[in-house]
Amino acid sequence: MSWLRPARGPDPNSFRTIRYDLLKELTVALGVVSVLVLILAGALSSPDVKPDTIQRWAQDDPVDFVTTATGELAGSSVSAQYGPPYNSGSGSVQSLGPLHPQEWAGVHQHVDSVNQFVLDPLNKAAASNATLTSALATFAAAKADQQTSWLDAYTAALANATAQDGAVVVPAGDYGPVDPMMKALLAVARSGGLDGLLLSGGGTFYQTDYTSPLLFLGDGGHLSGLAKDQMLFGNQWGVMNETGRYPGQAWLWLYTLWYQIPPYNTASNADLLVVLTMGVLSLALLLVPFIPGLRDIPRWIPIHRLIWRRFYAEERARRR
Protein backbone atom coordinates (compact mmCIF):
# COMPACT_ATOMS: atom_id res chain seq x y z
CA MET A 1 0.00 0.00 0.00
CA SER A 2 1.43 3.32 -1.06
CA TRP A 3 0.41 6.41 0.91
CA LEU A 4 0.45 8.51 -2.22
CA ARG A 5 -0.61 6.01 -4.87
CA PRO A 6 -3.16 7.16 -7.48
CA ALA A 7 -6.75 6.06 -6.95
CA ARG A 8 -8.22 2.92 -8.42
CA GLY A 9 -11.80 2.56 -9.58
CA PRO A 10 -13.98 5.34 -10.97
CA ASP A 11 -11.97 8.31 -12.16
CA PRO A 12 -13.47 11.51 -10.72
CA ASN A 13 -12.44 13.24 -13.95
CA SER A 14 -14.78 11.00 -15.95
CA PHE A 15 -17.82 12.70 -14.42
CA ARG A 16 -19.40 15.92 -15.56
CA THR A 17 -17.56 18.76 -13.83
CA ILE A 18 -18.57 22.04 -12.27
CA ARG A 19 -16.58 25.18 -11.54
CA TYR A 20 -14.71 24.92 -8.27
CA ASP A 21 -12.50 27.42 -6.45
CA LEU A 22 -10.56 25.70 -3.69
CA LEU A 23 -8.90 28.82 -2.30
CA LYS A 24 -12.14 30.79 -2.36
CA GLU A 25 -13.86 27.97 -0.49
CA LEU A 26 -11.12 27.97 2.16
CA THR A 27 -11.33 31.75 2.46
CA VAL A 28 -15.10 31.70 2.89
CA ALA A 29 -14.81 28.87 5.43
CA LEU A 30 -12.16 30.82 7.32
CA GLY A 31 -14.43 33.86 7.35
CA VAL A 32 -17.41 31.92 8.68
CA VAL A 33 -15.34 30.13 11.32
CA SER A 34 -13.71 33.44 12.31
CA VAL A 35 -17.11 34.97 12.99
CA LEU A 36 -18.13 31.92 15.03
CA VAL A 37 -14.91 31.88 17.07
CA LEU A 38 -15.02 35.61 17.76
CA ILE A 39 -18.67 35.53 18.83
CA LEU A 40 -18.19 32.48 21.08
CA ALA A 41 -15.02 33.86 22.65
CA GLY A 42 -16.45 37.34 23.11
CA ALA A 43 -19.82 36.24 24.45
CA LEU A 44 -18.91 33.17 26.49
CA SER A 45 -15.24 33.72 27.45
CA SER A 46 -13.42 30.63 28.78
CA PRO A 47 -13.12 28.86 32.12
CA ASP A 48 -10.29 29.54 34.54
CA VAL A 49 -10.88 28.40 38.13
CA LYS A 50 -7.83 29.06 40.27
CA PRO A 51 -5.71 26.02 41.06
CA ASP A 52 -5.66 24.46 44.48
CA THR A 53 -2.52 24.98 46.56
CA ILE A 54 -1.15 23.21 49.59
CA GLN A 55 -1.33 26.53 51.43
CA ARG A 56 -5.03 26.87 50.64
CA TRP A 57 -5.64 23.25 51.62
CA ALA A 58 -3.86 23.72 54.97
CA GLN A 59 -5.80 26.91 55.65
CA ASP A 60 -9.23 25.62 54.59
CA ASP A 61 -9.04 22.13 56.07
CA PRO A 62 -6.10 21.73 58.47
CA VAL A 63 -7.37 18.44 59.89
CA ASP A 64 -7.49 16.82 56.43
CA PHE A 65 -4.04 18.20 55.67
CA VAL A 66 -2.51 16.81 58.88
CA THR A 67 -4.33 13.47 58.43
CA THR A 68 -2.92 13.18 54.89
CA ALA A 69 0.57 14.24 55.96
CA THR A 70 0.53 11.68 58.79
CA GLY A 71 -0.40 9.02 56.24
CA GLU A 72 2.53 10.12 54.08
CA LEU A 73 4.91 9.83 57.07
CA ALA A 74 3.48 6.43 57.99
CA GLY A 75 3.87 5.23 54.40
CA SER A 76 0.18 4.37 54.22
CA SER A 77 -0.98 6.98 51.70
CA VAL A 78 -1.93 6.17 48.12
CA SER A 79 1.24 7.83 46.81
CA ALA A 80 3.47 6.05 49.34
CA GLN A 81 2.19 2.66 48.22
CA TYR A 82 1.50 3.51 44.56
CA GLY A 83 4.09 1.46 42.69
CA PRO A 84 5.66 2.19 39.30
CA PRO A 85 6.47 4.66 37.90
CA TYR A 86 6.82 6.42 41.29
CA ASN A 87 8.16 3.77 43.69
CA SER A 88 8.39 0.06 44.34
CA GLY A 89 4.98 -0.26 46.03
CA SER A 90 2.07 -2.17 44.57
CA GLY A 91 -1.00 -0.39 45.91
CA SER A 92 -2.05 1.12 42.58
CA VAL A 93 -0.57 -1.43 40.17
CA GLN A 94 -3.23 -2.78 37.83
CA SER A 95 -2.97 -6.17 36.19
CA LEU A 96 -4.65 -8.21 33.51
CA GLY A 97 -4.20 -11.84 34.43
CA PRO A 98 -0.48 -12.47 34.68
CA LEU A 99 0.35 -9.21 32.86
CA HIS A 100 1.47 -6.13 34.81
CA PRO A 101 2.32 -3.57 32.11
CA GLN A 102 2.58 -0.86 34.76
CA GLU A 103 5.72 -2.55 36.08
CA TRP A 104 7.42 -3.15 32.74
CA ALA A 105 9.21 0.20 32.55
CA GLY A 106 10.07 0.33 36.24
CA VAL A 107 10.39 3.41 38.45
CA HIS A 108 11.04 6.58 36.44
CA GLN A 109 9.80 9.46 38.62
CA HIS A 110 11.04 8.48 42.05
CA VAL A 111 8.60 9.52 44.78
CA ASP A 112 9.45 8.88 48.46
CA SER A 113 6.50 10.40 50.28
CA VAL A 114 8.00 9.93 53.77
CA ASN A 115 11.03 12.03 53.04
CA GLN A 116 9.94 14.22 50.11
CA PHE A 117 6.55 15.25 51.51
CA VAL A 118 7.27 15.35 55.26
CA LEU A 119 10.79 14.84 56.66
CA ASP A 120 12.81 16.88 54.13
CA PRO A 121 10.56 19.97 54.43
CA LEU A 122 10.59 19.61 58.24
CA ASN A 123 14.37 19.35 58.34
CA LYS A 124 14.59 22.60 56.37
CA ALA A 125 12.07 24.27 58.68
CA ALA A 126 13.96 23.04 61.74
CA ALA A 127 16.88 25.33 61.03
CA SER A 128 15.33 28.01 63.23
CA ASN A 129 13.09 25.87 65.41
CA ALA A 130 14.71 24.11 68.38
CA THR A 131 11.51 22.30 69.37
CA LEU A 132 11.15 20.85 65.91
CA THR A 133 14.84 19.92 65.78
CA SER A 134 14.42 17.96 68.99
CA ALA A 135 11.22 16.29 67.77
CA LEU A 136 12.86 15.20 64.53
CA ALA A 137 15.85 13.84 66.40
CA THR A 138 13.59 11.86 68.71
CA PHE A 139 11.63 10.45 65.78
CA ALA A 140 14.77 9.53 63.87
CA ALA A 141 16.29 7.81 66.90
CA ALA A 142 13.20 5.74 67.64
CA LYS A 143 12.88 2.16 66.46
CA ALA A 144 10.49 1.44 63.62
CA ASP A 145 8.00 -0.24 65.97
CA GLN A 146 7.95 2.82 68.18
CA GLN A 147 7.46 5.13 65.20
CA THR A 148 4.59 3.00 63.97
CA SER A 149 3.00 2.99 67.43
CA TRP A 150 3.13 6.81 67.64
CA LEU A 151 1.81 7.21 64.11
CA ASP A 152 -1.02 4.72 64.61
CA ALA A 153 -2.11 6.41 67.82
CA TYR A 154 -1.91 9.84 66.21
CA THR A 155 -3.84 8.69 63.13
CA ALA A 156 -6.58 7.29 65.36
CA ALA A 157 -6.69 10.51 67.37
CA LEU A 158 -7.04 12.61 64.23
CA ALA A 159 -10.51 11.12 63.75
CA ASN A 160 -11.56 13.23 66.74
CA ALA A 161 -9.34 16.22 66.01
CA THR A 162 -10.61 19.75 65.78
CA ALA A 163 -9.24 22.86 64.14
CA GLN A 164 -8.78 25.80 66.47
CA ASP A 165 -7.30 29.07 65.21
CA GLY A 166 -5.63 27.28 62.34
CA ALA A 167 -4.04 24.61 64.55
CA VAL A 168 -5.08 20.99 64.83
CA VAL A 169 -5.97 19.86 68.34
CA VAL A 170 -6.03 16.14 69.08
CA PRO A 171 -7.13 14.39 72.28
CA ALA A 172 -4.30 13.73 74.74
CA GLY A 173 -2.30 10.59 74.04
CA ASP A 174 1.15 9.10 73.53
CA TYR A 175 2.17 10.40 70.12
CA GLY A 176 5.83 10.97 70.89
CA PRO A 177 7.25 13.71 68.66
CA VAL A 178 4.60 13.25 65.94
CA ASP A 179 2.27 15.97 67.19
CA PRO A 180 4.88 18.76 67.24
CA MET A 181 6.21 17.57 63.87
CA MET A 182 2.77 17.75 62.30
CA LYS A 183 2.03 21.10 63.92
CA ALA A 184 5.26 22.42 62.42
CA LEU A 185 4.46 20.98 58.98
CA LEU A 186 1.00 22.54 59.14
CA ALA A 187 2.54 25.91 59.99
CA VAL A 188 4.92 25.65 57.04
CA ALA A 189 2.06 24.66 54.74
CA ARG A 190 -0.21 27.49 55.94
CA SER A 191 2.56 29.98 55.23
CA GLY A 192 2.87 28.73 51.65
CA GLY A 193 6.36 27.39 52.26
CA LEU A 194 5.50 23.77 51.55
CA ASP A 195 4.32 24.60 48.02
CA GLY A 196 7.83 25.84 47.26
CA LEU A 197 9.69 23.17 49.21
CA LEU A 198 7.96 20.36 47.33
CA LEU A 199 9.09 21.85 44.03
CA SER A 200 12.64 22.75 45.01
CA GLY A 201 13.20 19.67 47.16
CA GLY A 202 15.81 18.32 44.80
CA GLY A 203 17.92 21.44 45.16
CA THR A 204 16.89 22.84 41.80
CA PHE A 205 16.05 26.47 41.14
CA TYR A 206 14.07 26.14 37.91
CA GLN A 207 11.29 23.60 38.07
CA THR A 208 8.45 22.53 35.82
CA ASP A 209 7.71 19.09 37.25
CA TYR A 210 4.75 19.16 39.66
CA THR A 211 4.68 15.42 40.34
CA SER A 212 5.35 15.74 44.10
CA PRO A 213 2.88 18.51 45.03
CA LEU A 214 0.16 17.07 42.78
CA LEU A 215 0.52 13.60 44.27
CA PHE A 216 0.40 15.10 47.76
CA LEU A 217 -2.70 17.15 46.88
CA GLY A 218 -4.27 14.10 45.27
CA ASP A 219 -3.85 12.07 48.47
CA GLY A 220 -5.91 14.57 50.46
CA GLY A 221 -9.57 15.47 50.34
CA HIS A 222 -9.34 19.17 49.51
CA LEU A 223 -8.59 18.93 45.77
CA SER A 224 -11.22 16.24 45.28
CA GLY A 225 -13.74 18.35 47.19
CA LEU A 226 -13.17 21.27 44.85
CA ALA A 227 -13.41 18.94 41.85
CA LYS A 228 -16.66 17.42 43.09
CA ASP A 229 -18.17 20.90 43.43
CA GLN A 230 -17.29 21.46 39.76
CA MET A 231 -18.85 18.13 38.64
CA LEU A 232 -15.45 16.73 37.64
CA PHE A 233 -15.70 13.33 39.33
CA GLY A 234 -15.46 10.18 37.24
CA ASN A 235 -19.00 9.11 38.12
CA GLN A 236 -20.10 12.58 37.02
CA TRP A 237 -18.57 11.92 33.57
CA GLY A 238 -15.87 14.24 34.82
CA VAL A 239 -13.32 13.66 32.05
CA MET A 240 -15.73 15.29 29.63
CA ASN A 241 -16.58 18.19 31.93
CA GLU A 242 -14.95 21.55 32.45
CA THR A 243 -15.11 23.83 35.44
CA GLY A 244 -18.15 26.07 35.32
CA ARG A 245 -20.74 25.58 32.60
CA TYR A 246 -18.29 25.10 29.75
CA PRO A 247 -17.89 22.15 27.42
CA GLY A 248 -14.89 19.99 28.24
CA GLN A 249 -13.24 17.23 26.28
CA ALA A 250 -16.52 16.00 24.81
CA TRP A 251 -14.56 13.90 22.33
CA LEU A 252 -13.66 11.62 25.27
CA TRP A 253 -17.30 10.61 25.75
CA LEU A 254 -16.68 7.00 24.75
CA TYR A 255 -13.61 6.75 26.99
CA THR A 256 -15.65 8.06 29.93
CA LEU A 257 -18.65 5.88 29.12
CA TRP A 258 -16.84 2.66 30.02
CA TYR A 259 -16.25 3.87 33.58
CA GLN A 260 -20.02 4.16 34.07
CA ILE A 261 -21.00 0.61 33.08
CA PRO A 262 -20.22 -2.98 34.18
CA PRO A 263 -17.79 -4.64 34.30
CA TYR A 264 -15.57 -1.58 34.16
CA ASN A 265 -17.26 0.38 36.95
CA THR A 266 -16.61 -2.34 39.52
CA ALA A 267 -13.26 -3.67 38.27
CA SER A 268 -10.14 -3.06 40.33
CA ASN A 269 -8.19 -2.74 37.06
CA ALA A 270 -10.76 -0.46 35.41
CA ASP A 271 -8.15 1.98 34.06
CA LEU A 272 -6.21 -0.78 32.36
CA LEU A 273 -9.38 -2.33 30.90
CA VAL A 274 -10.67 1.01 29.61
CA VAL A 275 -7.37 2.02 28.01
CA LEU A 276 -7.02 -1.38 26.33
CA THR A 277 -10.64 -1.23 25.13
CA MET A 278 -10.09 2.22 23.66
CA GLY A 279 -6.86 1.02 22.08
CA VAL A 280 -8.65 -1.82 20.33
CA LEU A 281 -11.48 0.48 19.20
CA SER A 282 -9.00 3.08 17.92
CA LEU A 283 -7.23 0.37 15.94
CA ALA A 284 -10.57 -0.75 14.52
CA LEU A 285 -11.36 2.83 13.47
CA LEU A 286 -7.97 3.07 11.79
CA LEU A 287 -8.49 -0.19 9.93
CA VAL A 288 -12.16 0.27 8.97
CA PRO A 289 -11.35 0.02 5.23
CA PHE A 290 -10.04 -3.52 5.77
CA ILE A 291 -12.60 -4.93 8.24
CA PRO A 292 -15.44 -6.83 6.54
CA GLY A 293 -18.80 -5.83 7.94
CA LEU A 294 -17.58 -2.57 9.42
CA ARG A 295 -16.62 -1.30 5.97
CA ASP A 296 -19.91 -2.52 4.46
CA ILE A 297 -22.26 -0.70 6.87
CA PRO A 298 -22.31 2.48 4.70
CA ARG A 299 -23.59 0.35 1.82
CA TRP A 300 -26.22 -1.39 3.96
CA ILE A 301 -27.54 1.78 5.62
CA PRO A 302 -28.01 4.19 2.71
CA ILE A 303 -27.09 7.45 4.36
CA HIS A 304 -25.00 8.03 1.25
CA ARG A 305 -28.34 8.62 -0.52
CA LEU A 306 -28.62 11.80 1.59
CA ILE A 307 -25.00 12.79 1.06
CA TRP A 308 -25.25 12.56 -2.73
CA ARG A 309 -28.99 13.25 -2.95
CA ARG A 310 -28.70 15.47 -6.04
CA PHE A 311 -26.44 13.00 -7.81
CA TYR A 312 -28.84 10.11 -7.33
CA ALA A 313 -31.83 12.27 -8.30
CA GLU A 314 -30.10 13.22 -11.54
CA GLU A 315 -29.21 9.58 -12.14
CA ARG A 316 -32.85 8.55 -11.77
CA ALA A 317 -33.96 11.34 -14.11
CA ARG A 318 -31.33 10.40 -16.67
CA ARG A 319 -32.44 6.77 -16.76
CA ARG A 320 -36.12 7.58 -17.29
Binding site: S2, W3, L4, P6, A7, G9, P12, F15, I18, Y20, D21, L22, L26, A29, V32, V33, L40, S46, P47, D48, P51, P84, P85, S92, Q94, P101, Q102, E103, A105, Q109, T208, D209, Y210, L214, L226, A227, Q230, L232, G238, T243, G248, Q249, W251, L272, V274, V275, L286, V288, P289, F290, R295, D296, P298, R299, I301, H304, I307, W308, R309, Y312
Partner: protein
Amino acid sequence: MSTPPGSVPGDTGSSGRTEPAPPKQESGGWTGAVAGWLERRLPIGKLLPTRQPYYIGSWVYVFGVVTIAALIWVVLSGVVLTFFGPQWWHVSSIGHFINSLHFWSVQLFFIFMVLHLWGQYWAAGWRDGRAPTWMVGVVIFLISIVTAFTGYISQQNLDAQWIAVNAKDAINSVGVGAFFNPLNFGQMYGLHVMLLPIAITLLVVLHVVQVRMRGVVAPLGAADAHLPDGVREARPS
Protein backbone atom coordinates in the same frame (compact mmCIF):
# COMPACT_ATOMS: atom_id res chain seq x y z
CA MET B 1 21.01 45.28 -25.49
CA SER B 2 18.47 43.47 -27.63
CA THR B 3 18.59 39.82 -28.61
CA PRO B 4 17.96 38.93 -32.25
CA PRO B 5 14.75 36.92 -32.84
CA GLY B 6 15.39 33.23 -33.11
CA SER B 7 18.67 33.39 -31.33
CA VAL B 8 17.39 31.90 -28.06
CA PRO B 9 15.67 28.56 -27.41
CA GLY B 10 11.90 28.73 -27.50
CA ASP B 11 11.72 31.85 -29.63
CA THR B 12 9.95 31.19 -32.92
CA GLY B 13 10.89 34.53 -34.23
CA SER B 14 7.49 34.91 -35.83
CA SER B 15 5.67 36.96 -33.20
CA GLY B 16 8.52 39.17 -32.17
CA ARG B 17 8.07 38.02 -28.52
CA THR B 18 10.68 36.01 -26.72
CA GLU B 19 9.22 33.04 -24.78
CA PRO B 20 11.56 31.42 -22.30
CA ALA B 21 11.97 27.73 -22.94
CA PRO B 22 11.28 25.41 -20.00
CA PRO B 23 14.51 24.27 -18.43
CA LYS B 24 15.55 20.86 -19.62
CA GLN B 25 15.12 18.27 -16.85
CA GLU B 26 18.24 16.23 -16.47
CA SER B 27 17.50 12.56 -16.21
CA GLY B 28 18.70 10.77 -13.10
CA GLY B 29 19.56 12.22 -9.76
CA TRP B 30 17.42 12.45 -6.64
CA THR B 31 16.06 15.89 -7.45
CA GLY B 32 15.09 14.86 -10.97
CA ALA B 33 13.43 11.73 -9.70
CA VAL B 34 11.40 13.67 -7.11
CA ALA B 35 10.48 16.32 -9.69
CA GLY B 36 9.35 13.68 -12.15
CA TRP B 37 7.36 11.87 -9.50
CA LEU B 38 5.62 15.08 -8.43
CA GLU B 39 4.81 15.99 -12.02
CA ARG B 40 3.27 12.58 -12.61
CA ARG B 41 1.45 12.17 -9.31
CA LEU B 42 0.50 15.69 -8.31
CA PRO B 43 0.34 18.08 -11.26
CA ILE B 44 -0.70 21.61 -10.36
CA GLY B 45 -4.09 21.03 -11.95
CA LYS B 46 -4.80 18.37 -9.32
CA LEU B 47 -3.32 20.34 -6.44
CA LEU B 48 -5.28 23.51 -7.23
CA PRO B 49 -8.22 22.39 -9.39
CA THR B 50 -10.64 24.82 -11.00
CA ARG B 51 -13.20 22.16 -11.83
CA GLN B 52 -14.48 19.18 -9.84
CA PRO B 53 -16.94 16.37 -10.51
CA TYR B 54 -20.50 17.61 -10.02
CA TYR B 55 -21.25 15.17 -7.18
CA ILE B 56 -19.17 17.28 -4.77
CA GLY B 57 -22.15 19.60 -4.53
CA SER B 58 -23.03 18.21 -1.09
CA TRP B 59 -22.95 19.67 2.40
CA VAL B 60 -20.75 16.80 3.57
CA TYR B 61 -17.72 18.32 1.84
CA VAL B 62 -17.98 21.47 3.90
CA PHE B 63 -16.81 19.78 7.09
CA GLY B 64 -13.28 19.11 5.87
CA VAL B 65 -12.54 22.68 4.89
CA VAL B 66 -14.11 24.21 8.03
CA THR B 67 -12.01 21.81 10.11
CA ILE B 68 -8.91 23.29 8.48
CA ALA B 69 -10.27 26.81 9.05
CA ALA B 70 -10.76 26.03 12.75
CA LEU B 71 -7.27 24.55 12.90
CA ILE B 72 -5.87 27.81 11.53
CA TRP B 73 -7.53 29.64 14.44
CA VAL B 74 -6.26 27.05 16.92
CA VAL B 75 -2.68 27.48 15.68
CA LEU B 76 -2.77 31.28 15.47
CA SER B 77 -4.27 31.75 18.95
CA GLY B 78 -1.91 29.10 20.30
CA VAL B 79 1.10 30.90 18.84
CA VAL B 80 0.09 34.12 20.63
CA LEU B 81 -0.46 32.26 23.92
CA THR B 82 2.90 30.54 23.55
CA PHE B 83 4.66 33.81 22.77
CA PHE B 84 3.53 35.45 26.01
CA GLY B 85 3.99 32.36 28.18
CA PRO B 86 1.67 29.95 30.00
CA GLN B 87 0.80 32.31 32.87
CA TRP B 88 -0.02 35.39 30.80
CA TRP B 89 -3.66 34.59 30.11
CA HIS B 90 -4.41 34.21 33.84
CA VAL B 91 -3.43 37.80 34.60
CA SER B 92 -4.27 39.68 31.40
CA SER B 93 -7.73 40.41 30.04
CA ILE B 94 -6.35 40.38 26.49
CA GLY B 95 -4.60 37.12 27.26
CA HIS B 96 -7.84 35.67 28.59
CA PHE B 97 -9.61 36.68 25.38
CA ILE B 98 -6.88 35.01 23.30
CA ASN B 99 -7.31 31.92 25.46
CA SER B 100 -11.04 32.07 24.79
CA LEU B 101 -10.33 32.16 21.05
CA HIS B 102 -8.09 29.12 21.52
CA PHE B 103 -10.68 27.32 23.66
CA TRP B 104 -13.60 27.81 21.28
CA SER B 105 -11.62 27.18 18.11
CA VAL B 106 -10.53 23.86 19.62
CA GLN B 107 -14.17 23.01 20.37
CA LEU B 108 -15.16 23.89 16.79
CA PHE B 109 -12.16 22.01 15.39
CA PHE B 110 -13.30 18.81 17.09
CA ILE B 111 -16.97 19.28 16.17
CA PHE B 112 -16.10 19.81 12.50
CA MET B 113 -13.51 17.03 12.48
CA VAL B 114 -15.95 14.49 13.94
CA LEU B 115 -18.64 15.55 11.43
CA HIS B 116 -16.06 15.20 8.64
CA LEU B 117 -15.10 11.76 9.95
CA TRP B 118 -18.73 10.59 10.12
CA GLY B 119 -19.41 12.05 6.69
CA GLN B 120 -16.51 10.15 5.20
CA TYR B 121 -17.55 6.98 7.00
CA TRP B 122 -21.09 7.02 5.58
CA ALA B 123 -19.67 7.92 2.17
CA ALA B 124 -17.22 5.01 2.51
CA GLY B 125 -14.55 7.49 1.54
CA TRP B 126 -11.80 4.87 1.70
CA ARG B 127 -12.96 3.16 -1.49
CA ASP B 128 -10.90 2.72 -4.61
CA GLY B 129 -7.45 2.93 -3.10
CA ARG B 130 -8.20 5.73 -0.65
CA ALA B 131 -7.64 3.68 2.54
CA PRO B 132 -4.37 5.54 3.29
CA THR B 133 -6.29 8.83 3.17
CA TRP B 134 -8.77 7.49 5.73
CA MET B 135 -5.97 6.15 7.93
CA VAL B 136 -4.04 9.42 7.95
CA GLY B 137 -7.29 11.18 8.88
CA VAL B 138 -7.85 8.82 11.80
CA VAL B 139 -4.26 9.34 12.98
CA ILE B 140 -4.86 13.11 12.87
CA PHE B 141 -7.99 12.60 14.98
CA LEU B 142 -6.15 10.48 17.56
CA ILE B 143 -3.16 12.84 17.77
CA SER B 144 -5.57 15.76 18.13
CA ILE B 145 -7.09 14.07 21.19
CA VAL B 146 -3.63 13.72 22.77
CA THR B 147 -2.85 17.33 21.85
CA ALA B 148 -6.06 18.59 23.44
CA PHE B 149 -5.34 16.48 26.51
CA THR B 150 -1.89 18.03 26.94
CA GLY B 151 -3.52 21.43 26.40
CA TYR B 152 -6.04 20.90 29.17
CA ILE B 153 -3.18 19.87 31.48
CA SER B 154 -1.19 22.97 30.48
CA GLN B 155 -3.96 25.35 31.59
CA GLN B 156 -2.41 25.76 35.07
CA ASN B 157 -5.77 25.87 36.84
CA LEU B 158 -8.03 23.58 38.88
CA ASP B 159 -9.20 21.67 35.81
CA ALA B 160 -5.61 21.01 34.79
CA GLN B 161 -4.74 19.74 38.27
CA TRP B 162 -7.71 17.41 38.47
CA ILE B 163 -7.28 16.00 34.97
CA ALA B 164 -3.57 15.36 35.59
CA VAL B 165 -4.12 13.67 38.97
CA ASN B 166 -6.80 11.38 37.59
CA ALA B 167 -5.39 10.69 34.15
CA LYS B 168 -2.09 9.50 35.58
CA ASP B 169 -3.71 6.26 36.79
CA ALA B 170 -4.97 5.30 33.33
CA ILE B 171 -1.67 6.25 31.70
CA ASN B 172 0.38 4.47 34.37
CA SER B 173 -1.77 1.33 34.18
CA VAL B 174 -0.46 0.51 30.69
CA GLY B 175 3.12 1.42 31.50
CA VAL B 176 3.18 4.63 29.48
CA GLY B 177 3.47 6.82 32.58
CA ALA B 178 7.18 6.14 32.76
CA PHE B 179 7.62 8.21 29.59
CA PHE B 180 4.53 10.43 29.50
CA ASN B 181 3.93 12.00 32.91
CA PRO B 182 0.79 14.19 33.06
CA LEU B 183 2.00 15.61 36.40
CA ASN B 184 5.07 17.04 34.67
CA PHE B 185 3.91 20.41 33.39
CA GLY B 186 7.10 21.06 31.44
CA GLN B 187 6.78 17.84 29.47
CA MET B 188 3.08 18.33 28.76
CA TYR B 189 3.53 21.99 27.75
CA GLY B 190 6.45 21.21 25.45
CA LEU B 191 4.51 18.47 23.71
CA HIS B 192 1.43 20.67 23.43
CA VAL B 193 3.02 23.74 21.88
CA MET B 194 5.70 22.07 19.76
CA LEU B 195 5.80 18.44 18.75
CA LEU B 196 2.12 17.59 18.58
CA PRO B 197 1.00 20.70 16.60
CA ILE B 198 3.82 20.13 14.14
CA ALA B 199 2.73 16.52 13.73
CA ILE B 200 -0.91 17.52 13.18
CA THR B 201 0.00 20.25 10.68
CA LEU B 202 2.24 17.97 8.64
CA LEU B 203 -0.33 15.19 8.64
CA VAL B 204 -3.10 17.59 7.59
CA VAL B 205 -0.91 18.70 4.66
CA LEU B 206 -0.35 15.04 3.75
CA HIS B 207 -4.08 14.35 4.11
CA VAL B 208 -5.00 17.23 1.78
CA VAL B 209 -2.38 16.14 -0.76
CA GLN B 210 -3.79 12.61 -0.64
CA VAL B 211 -7.29 13.94 -1.30
CA ARG B 212 -6.15 16.17 -4.15
CA MET B 213 -4.02 13.45 -5.70
CA ARG B 214 -6.74 10.81 -5.76
CA GLY B 215 -9.68 13.12 -6.33
CA VAL B 216 -12.95 12.97 -4.41
CA VAL B 217 -14.35 9.45 -4.25
CA ALA B 218 -17.30 8.76 -6.54
CA PRO B 219 -20.77 8.17 -5.05
CA LEU B 220 -21.54 4.58 -4.08
CA GLY B 221 -22.81 2.73 -7.12
CA ALA B 222 -21.79 5.46 -9.55
CA ALA B 223 -19.19 3.50 -11.42
CA ASP B 224 -21.59 1.47 -13.53
CA ALA B 225 -23.12 4.57 -15.03
CA HIS B 226 -19.96 6.45 -15.78
CA LEU B 227 -17.15 4.08 -16.50
CA PRO B 228 -16.52 2.44 -19.85
CA ASP B 229 -18.21 -0.86 -20.50
CA GLY B 230 -16.76 -3.81 -18.70
CA VAL B 231 -15.68 -1.86 -15.61
CA ARG B 232 -17.72 -2.95 -12.67
CA GLU B 233 -18.75 -1.06 -9.60
CA ALA B 234 -15.94 -0.90 -7.06
CA ARG B 235 -16.66 -2.56 -3.76
CA PRO B 236 -15.59 -0.82 -0.56
CA SER B 237 -12.02 -1.91 0.05
